[in-house]
Symmetry: C2
Subunit: 361 residues, 2 copies
């Protein structure tokens, strides 16, 4: 993805095996590219969230394991490093999956070949993520193009951050937007600030700025009004989990935008890779919703005029807060789900149409 005119991925490997990442804890305030030269530095970068986003940390961990084999390619060292890396974010499914893929491909190989094999598998994991997201965007593109005939830019509303920083490149919801921009379709993105953690105002706006895509940050409260006044052509969001029937769990507030889209005849699209579809769960009501720290509501982090990152209380002293982190948008409000295989209706039949191999499961 582009940043100030240069092309980047969220992680890449240098010829000597060292890994380059953006320190995402400093974004959007400061762009700093870190060079990680051993697996301990990689583990630290994952656990302190210098890299975040499920697909990205899987790829970074795989590169980290490959890097460690340059020092010691024994089974014992390899297993110990994999265990250490897996422990950095214990609930991240992609992390475990990427490390297992590495170990399976390395286990029975001669030691002298292991560095080369590991670097190839890690690169494949990263490249596969890029290709998956590129295809998601490719399938999203016609949904955007459908609104390009009228005068002015295509106005797209998005919620939270589903861009390249959470993946190796492209992102999910933003992939089609970047590709539309690159192919010359004039697009303008309404960026929900996405309280309480402000990922929209901070990360999505940063990504769009870096790529040169026109955008405007709005309060989460404003989207419905903009739709009523005809200022939103379509909505595209990412998702944390899609259930078998097409219900969509995503960042808290997504459901409200889906209701407003329905009420105003605005298409509401959800973009995700196949790995986000949870075939074992029948419907969204069965998804447990994470309740996060109330200080995310009562306190805000930002940049002071002198450049220092600081924290303020923005709620009445002593008042408690509640902080459910996700909500579920019922399938009836979702126009389509876009994956690397194409565009599906938000229903079991629709999803099985893209993934017929799941019919038996």
């Amino acid at each position: 993805m582009k940043l100030n005119g240069a092309q980047y991925r969220s992680v890449w490997r240098e010829p000597d095996g060292a890994i380059r990442i953006f320190d995402q804890t400093l974004l959007p305030w400061r762009v700093e590219i870190l060079r990680l030269t051993d697996a301990h530095q990689v583990a630290e970068a994952i656990s302190t969230m210098r890299v975040r986003g499920a697909p990205l940390i899987g790829a970074v961990a795989a590169f980290g394991l490959a890097l460690s084999l340059r020092e010691d390619a024994s089974d014992a060292a390899m297993d110990a490093t994999a265990t250490m890396l897996a422990a950095t974010r214990p609930t991240a499914i992609n992390l475990r999956w990427a490390l297992d893929m590495m170990l399976a491909g390395l286990r029975n190989q001669p030691r002298d070949d292991r560095v080369a094999i590991a670097e190839r598998i890690a690169q494949d994991i990263a490249d596969d993520d890029v290709e998956t997201n590129r295809k998601i965007g490719e399938h999203t593109l016609p949904l955007i193009q459908a609104h390009a005939a009228k005068p002015g830019p295509v106005n797209i509303l998005t919620h939270c951050n589903a861009g390249w920083l959470a993946t190796v490149d492209y992102g999910t919801a933003l992939s089609g937007i970047f590709q539309a921009h690159d192919s010359g379709i004039p697009v303008h993105v309404w960026v929900d600030e996405t309280r309480p953690r402000n990922q929209g105002a901070l990360l999505t706006a940063f990504e769009l700025s870096g790529h040169g895509v026109a955008h405007t940050i709005i309060a989460d409260n404003a989207g419905g009004h903009l739709m009523q006044r005809g200022q939103v052509d379509l909505v595209i969001v990412g998702t944390d989990r899609v259930t078998r029937n097409g219900d969509v769990a995503n960042k808290i507030g997504t459901y409200l935008k889906a209701l407003a889209a329905k009420d105003n005849g605005v298409p509401f699209h959800v973009a995700c890779p196949h790995s986000t579809i949870d075939w074992r769960i029948a419907q969204g009501a069965d998804i447990p919703i994470e309740e996060r720290d109330e200080r995310e509501i009562t306190d805000v982090t930002g940049q002071a005029p002198d450049g220092v990152i600081a924290r303020l209380r923005v709620a009445a002293p002593g008042s408690p807060a509640a902080n459910p982190a996700f909500d579920v948008t019922p399938a009836r409000l979702v126009t389509s789900i876009v994956t690397e295989r194409g565009v599906a209706a938000a229903s079991e039949a629709g999803l099985l149409g893209l993934y017929p191999e799941r019919k038996a499961s």
Copy 2:
């Protein structure tokens, strides 16, 4: 209304004519009661928003004019003071209305009687506001009580601030909530923080705390999810303007909550005095929506750990923002409109049922 166990109004007059107000620019961080002893201090308090809220500034200005007559009760002085006070917030209708009421009642009275007359009219304006809001709450009470049979508290969601600080006492949307609490109905209020200006997290939470009403601050994004999970029994909001057909203009984001309420079978009530109904406007789409400074979105004011009130940027550097301040909730999403006269359906017929004298207009 109660604050730490003591009973208060938002403005009151002392025996020597001096006016007492809360300095609302310091709330919720510091409770400071100011004593205003001449009309210039009153004008300063209004123009710097130490007092705010249409009904409240009308009453404060009236007390201010009465105070000035103690020094000089001539027609010339009286007119000059009224002009000065009216200029403090030029678009505030109640301010102009209250001053006109004062001048009309004073103009042909002997100078020696003017102080007493002025103090009586000003007190009447304040008392009438209290009585109007008390009645709004009285009519709201049965709507709350209707949910009191089930176990646990009645869960009420509100958006923005429609409490006593914007009026002389009680407030509008909160009046019924305070009265329910006082009459022993267990209530719990979900307080939308109400970005971008956070009036919910700051003022509504402060008012509810002061009166001892159980409440929880939430991100504006969370209300739909809570309704889906059965955690909201009813919604009560205030309004800035109701049109003849029952459409409701209120703080940005109200429309999204009304959609979620409809989708989940949750009653959505709007509380306001008769003066908020704009009989000249046929429908909400005709209401111009104020666009406010984008820095309300990109920057946040709050209290630092050392107690200092400070300002932080909370959006990516360089990204623009848009800030529509109100939205319109269509009458079809409004369960009822509650005024000092009773409960009406949100329709022209419903409103005319309460105000038959408007039929000819």
